[in-house]
């Protein structure tokens, strides 16, 4: 699905990541940890083509990112659900329409997926807020809406950046269950988080690999997690 080979990245200064080689195989479940500012978000951006490696090669679904034009990236994004760390929405549209947005822009009939949308909103606990505008939501509610938006298309890959940073423990378990469920359906999942207890809890449900960013490298974390 997504392959990085000897990838390095820097924002103009010294390398933030270097020599990263990783393959997100179909149906795999990964966690990504690392201290704040280590490059987790940067890594995810490399995985969905928002950033282009400064060295090495990143490929999405077999296509080299460097060779993709904007349209190709847009099409690839429809197969990748992304939960951004700072969840941004179209503030003038109600949450329900925001969650359905990926359907709209890819030209699918949002009306047909109405039932699906409803279920999803119910699962993340936003049924009663479906008609609210994003600025009227609480921090945690926004995060849940962002997760719902990322998976409404049932994409092949789900990349979630701190999807539980602002929600309580029970809700984070609920969201985790959702991701595990999707993984069981064959989706590839990568969750960046600093919350080790979340990772520990997940390990009882799913066989997840835990990656850690340290010293500019992405390494497999030890069994201590």
């Amino acid at each position: 699905m997504i392959e990085l080979e000897n990838v390095a990245y820097n924002y103009g200064g010294g390398d933030l990541l270097s020599d990263v080689t990783l393959k997100l195989a179909p149906g795999s479940f990964h966690f990504l940890t690392g201290p704040s500012g280590a490059g987790k978000t940067t890594f995810l951006k490399l995985c969905y083509g928002a950033l282009v490696p400064t060295a090495g090669q990143a490929s999405l679904f077999g296509q080299d990112v460097r060779g993709m034009d904007r349209d190709a990236v847009a099409l690839a994004r429809r197969r990748i659900g992304v939960v951004h760390q700072d969840c941004t929405f179209l503030d003038h549209l109600p949450i329900a329409e925001n969650v359905a947005l990926p359907l709209v822009v890819s030209g699918r009939d949002a009306l047909k997926e109405q039932a699906n949308l409803k279920d999803l909103l119910a699962w993340v606990g936003l049924s009663s807020r479906a008609q609210a505008r994003p600025p009227e939501l609480s921090g945690g509610e926004r995060q849940r809406a962002a997760l719902a938006r990322a998976i409404i298309m049932s994409p092949d890959v789900i990349l979630a950046d701190e999807p539980t940073g602002n929600v309580d423990w029970e809700m984070s378990q609920r969201l985790l269950t959702l991701l595990v469920e999707l993984n069981r359906m064959g989706k590839t999942v990568l969750v960046a988080t600093h919350d080790l207890s979340l990772i520990r809890a997940a390990k009882t449900h799913v066989q997840a690999r835990v990656l850690r960013i340290a010293q500019r490298r992405v390494q497999l974390a030890g069994a201590d997690l």
């Binding site: 847009a74 099409l75 994004r77 179209l90 003038h92 549209l93 329409e97 990926p102 822009v105 938006r149």
Partner: protein, 301 residues
């Protein structure tokens, strides 16, 4: 032009759902609408001014009948010879289209304002008048006077009719001014719509980011913005046009008796001119927004 119009129409048709992704209101919206309206309003005035001064220039030039007069005073017996000599000179003068001696009746008509209709022109020692019609370039008055002095000592060249000439120049200059203003106003409108579009795009960076994140193509994003702006400019310009035409309609009409100045209004099919302004504004907006959107999208990584 045709192709552009086609593209504009395709963009305008759009689809209702795509439409919702761009925030519908906002101050840059009002700004675009308003700029388009004001600029079109001013353009209607400039257009009217330009057309009116055009008519004026036409009327004045035709009224002018570029003529001057040669007056030959001579003893009665030499009169005819001198007249003939003068005509000969004039025939060979560059810039003179034709010259002819006025008949007795014509001279009487000319003098009527002064002496009443019953002047005994025949018995009066009045000079013979020769009407000179210039061609487009006009003649060199000083040179002609020198030649006449030599050959027809009794001749006095009077080009007092020239005083009206500056009027025509003035009218042409006004017409030019009108056209220049239209150009200026058009450019200003284009620039303002571009800036308003850029401001709107800048204010909607988050919208663009979200759309991209969920997999919208750039063409989809561009179309959504372009549609908004073209429609806004179109409706703004339509409002401005209607207001401008109304304002011109309620202007007091020029006094018809004078007939010297035509009214500022449009005449006949000239009323159709203002109608082209809104589509023009729409096309400007279409082009300006598309360029701005594409540049903006290229800037955002």
């Amino acid at each position: 032009m045709k192709a552009l119009l086609d593209r504009v129409m395709t963009a305008l048709r759009g689809d209702a759902q795509a439409d919702r992704v761009v925030p519908p209101t906002g101050h840059t919206a009002t700004l675009t609408l308003f700029s388009a309206a004001v600029m079109t309003f001013l353009a209607v005035f400039a257009l009217a001014l330009s057309l009116a001064t055009g008519r004026l220039a036409d009327r004045w030039s035709s009224e002018l009948a570029r003529t001057s007069t040669l007056r030959i005073s001579a003893p009665a017996e030499q009169m005819e010879a001198q007249t003939r000599a003068a005509l000969r000179v004039l025939e060979t003068t560059q810039g003179v289209a034709s010259a002819r001696a006025l008949s007795v009746e014509e001279q009487r008509a000319l003098l009527a304002p002064w002496f009443g209709p019953d002047v005994p022109v025949e018995t009066l020692p009045i000079p013979q008048l020769v009407e000179i019609v210039e061609d487009g370039t006009g003649y060199d008055a000083a040179g002609l006077r020198l030649r006449l002095q030599a050959e027809v000592p009794g001749a006095v060249l009077d080009d007092h009719t020239r005083w009206r000439r500056p009027l025509v120049t003035a009218a042409s200059r006004l017409r030019l001014l009108g056209l220049v203003s239209i150009l200026l106003i058009g450019t200003a409108m284009a620039a303002m719509i571009t800036l308003a579009a850029q401001a709107s795009l800048a204010a909607n960076t988050q919208v663009i980011a979200v759309l991209r994140l969920v997999g919208a193509r750039d063409s989809y994003i561009t179309r959504a913005f372009v549609r908004r702006f073209t429609l806004r400019a179109l409706s703004g310009a339509a409002v401005g046009m209607v207001l401008g035409v109304l304002a011109i309609l309620i202007l007091p009409p020029a006094q018809e008796e004078g007939g010297f100045l035509t009214g500022l209004g449009f005449q006949g099919w000239h009323w159709l001119w203002p109608l082209i302004l809104p589509p023009l504004a729409g096309m400007v907006a279409f082009w300006a927004t598309r360029t701005a959107a594409r540049r903006r999208l290229a800037e955002i990584p």
